[in-house]
Symmetry: C2
Subunit: 310 residues, 2 copies
């Protein structure tokens, strides 16, 4: 418990250690999460996603700088879809963030996505929870938005920002079902590199086609993050979205729904672990695999037999 106290007292080393325990699914990490939980709820989480190369990290860096100038503390959880072969390929992006290395008001954590069944999402929301509990006021969840896993990741956010670049066609093609729908603020970054206005129009047209609920009309901004242009405007839109949700009372409902999904997901993870453990102990899975492999049983019936056997 000394570790938790140290993290709560502001030790970045202790905080990093707590996060590692949580990420690793360590029982100690689970215990820490339970203890931290009552301290959570004050932070505002902003999901930032978009295709590779859209300049998300630079934008998050610029937003962090602006928030720090306003005296607010910031944590960044960067979920990097790197291959183990290239290891820290995206860490290059993070090097810029070293500007903040001496600033205790900024904490940056890169998470590699893990290739395990069930995806990466569960620990991302847990890491956000830890950062919330130790007092970071704004938490950016940055990821490359191309898959369902990323939709889940930004689902842990209170506001979802989608970063695009001029010249949309190919980009949108690579964005999976669901990612455009979850955007609440759109930013066409690198606005100096191409026809940004046309892309803004295209995004607005797409948004007009899609279903929208809650009376929020997603703004479509432009930015040049490297020059700091459009950053204050983006922050203002994030704040406006926050106020809107607070005034309409939708933020508690959104967070409540998130809690509901988290409980279900945690229940499923536990169930998944139990099924695997039970399958490993029992002979049933091997026997059924043999029959399916031999062609005397189909996998669907085998699945039902397996569940009966466990």
């Amino acid at each position: 418990m000394a570790l938790l106290d140290e993290a709560l007292a502001g030790s970045p080393q202790a905080l990093a250690r707590v996060i590692s325990l949580v990420e690793d699914g360590d029982p100690e990490g689970q215990a820490l999460l339970r203890q931290l939980y009552p301290r959570t709820g004050a932070a505002y989480a902003v999901g930032i996603t978009g295709p590779p190369g859209a300049g998300k990290s630079t934008l998050v860096d610029a937003l962090t700088r602006t928030l720090r100038a306003q005296g607010r503390t910031v944590a960044v959880v960067a979920v990097d879809p790197t291959s183990p072969f290239t290891g820290g390929a995206l860490l290059g992006d993070r090097i810029r963030m070293q500007d903040h290395a001496a600033d205790p008001g900024v904490f940056i954590r890169s998470m590699a996505t893990r290739g395990s069944l069930g995806g990466l999402a569960p620990t991302t929301s847990d890491v956000v929870r830890v950062l919330d509990a130790v007092g970071y006021q704004v938490i950016f969840i940055e990821t490359v938005g191309i898959g369902q896993a990323e939709v889940d990741v930004v689902g842990a956010a209170d506001t979802v920002v989608i970063v695009l670049v001029p010249g949309l066609g190919d980009t949108v093609q690579t964005m999976k079902a669901g990612i455009m729908e979850i955007g609440e603020i759109f930013v066409v970054n690198k606005a100096d590199q191409g026809d940004a206005d046309r892309t803004v129009t295209e995004v607005k047209m797409m948004l007009a086609l899609g279903p929208r609920t809650g009376g929020w009309d997603p703004p479509v901004l432009t930015s040049i993050a490297t020059a700091g242009r459009g950053v204050a405007e983006l922050l203002e839109e994030i704040e406006r979205h926050r106020r809107r949700q607070e005034q309409a009372g939708t933020l508690p409902a959104r967070r409540r729904e998130r809690r509901r999904r988290e409980i279900l997901r945690a229940a499923e993870q536990r169930l998944h672990a139990r099924v695997l453990a039970a399958a490993a102990r029992s002979q049933a899975l091997e026997a059924l695999t043999e029959q399916v492999h031999a062609g005397t049983l189909d996998p669907y019936t085998a699945a039902e037999e397996l569940l009966k056997a466990l």
Copy 2:
């Protein structure tokens, strides 16, 4: 059952209908899968993946042409990660395949990825199974390889081909953990557009760093699919990999392991559906959500309570 007989007799309309039932998770589709299962096992499934724009569809088209010239039947399952906003964005690629529209020896099916929890993989392997049962000899599973879902998709293949383009840096960054590891044949396509030799060298270097098992040294080829260059060589490597697995006896083991994973996955899907159904019937989830939302209970304990209650 008339439908199944028609599909087995070679009606592409009946086949398309069977696949739709399977894709929709329809009970009739499940029943058809059970009936088809004993007829499967003769097809050879080749997974083709890589980043957007690598020319995978053109390559699959060229491979299909070559296989047809050899008298072999071909089915293509194209898993398209399109947004509902752009609908058939990738269908442009498929239009080329209309060359084969009048050829009963070729069947092409596009599947949109669905944003549901659990991902798209289960139905992909089911669709492959249907195509196998009705007698297609070679089945290409084509997808955009950037996420875990795609790793699962190509996991349904007997040989996995990864298509890259010259200039690797950015490309590899967008490929998730696990995707390079599963490649058994690498092709640097669009070899006329950039320094393909350098990319070949880079891929070989990365492969040298990674773990390899089974005594197969993944070849790294070049191709210009639009001009048909390198296609025969790629096909020869696929054949060589097939022969290698057959001679070493590893193909049955690989397929057996796949059956094992399919049974587990089908069991989990059923369990997942049951948890959701039970949670919907019971008051437990709502009551627990309320407590977690109020901060009097943490989501991890709530998950355990939920499982106890169901």
